[in-house]
């Protein structure tokens, strides 16, 4: 009788230990899943807004010439126009927000092209372009992870970063 009780205790202890082991394994896996999901979500959210801001910054720097940067309203949309001369012709890169995406269109200056034909660069929720002071551009990219604001002061207006 005594031996049988001992055997039952052994079995219960082993079973309990096994259950603790199984629960611990599950917990570690769940923690891993949560960390991985958070990291991926954060990366995905960051990607769109960061890509949009980096793209806008590079485009502005690339077109940093006197009177090259302008804010216009075309077809009811606020458009950042970057104009430059290529082989004697004036071309405009139009950057704007339409249908949930930051879009770009490169065409001859004053060409009447439907803005919906622009190429989508990044999926964002909105784009706000302002000129709070003469020569200073404030561009706000609205994305799922919040707004990102970029201030840009062109070298052609006197700026010089070092």
């Amino acid at each position: 009788m005594h031996r049988r009780r001992d055997s039952a205790t052994d079995f219960l202890f082993t079973l309990t230990l096994f259950c603790v082991f199984a629960v611990s394994s599950l917990l570690v896996v769940l923690i891993g899943v949560r960390v991985y999901r958070n990291t991926v979500e954060s990366m995905t959210q960051n990607y769109s807004s960061r890509t949009a801001v980096a793209y806008l910054q590079e485009k502005l720097r690339e077109n940093d010439e006197t009177d090259a940067i302008a804010l216009e309203t075309r077809q009811g949309v606020s458009v950042l126009s970057l104009t430059r001369t290529l082989e004697g012709e004036r071309y405009t890169t139009s950057i704007y927000w339409m249908d949930g995406a930051l879009r770009e269109m490169f065409a001859k200056q004053n060409a009447e092209i439907d803005l919906a034909a622009g190429q989508a660069i990044a999926e964002i929720e909105g784009l706000l372009i302002e000129e709070p002071q003469n020569g200073v551009w404030r561009i706000t990219v609205q994305a799922a992870d919040g707004d990102r604001t970029l201030l840009f002061y062109p070298k052609s207006a006197g700026g010089n970063v070092s």
């Binding site: 055997s7 202890f13 082993t14 709070p132 200073v136 990102r148 201030l151 010089n160 970063v161």
Partner: protein, 141 residues
Amino acid sequence: MNRESSKSALFLMELILAILFFALAAVVCVQLFCAAHTLSTDTRDSNCAVTLAQNAAAALQSAEGDLQAAARLLQGEADTHTLQAWYTADGKACTAAEAAFKLQASAEPLQETAAVTVLRLRDNSELFCLTVSWHAPLRAA
């Protein structure tokens, strides 16, 4: 009965060894998860800090070193040699009480330079530092 007891002991021993191995693996995994989380947070904060410092540089250059004018653009405050502005974790201007980041710029008006630093208030660590220079043209008196 003896055979049953021996089987149970063997299984227990196996289980203990498995738990030992699992415990070691779990410690390594949890450390990796923590490191991944910290790295992800640091990267997000660094990106935000770089943008804030670049914005401060643009504001200082457009204001030709006038800290008051730059502070208006950055929604911060300034005295004669220092500019300070506070931002939330996603880079929005806010008050000092609810800030995650603090931007400060120390200007050297004679050298026409300023050191822009972005601090993370949680651990008071410096996230990004940038030296800005500008040229203030001479104007007729």
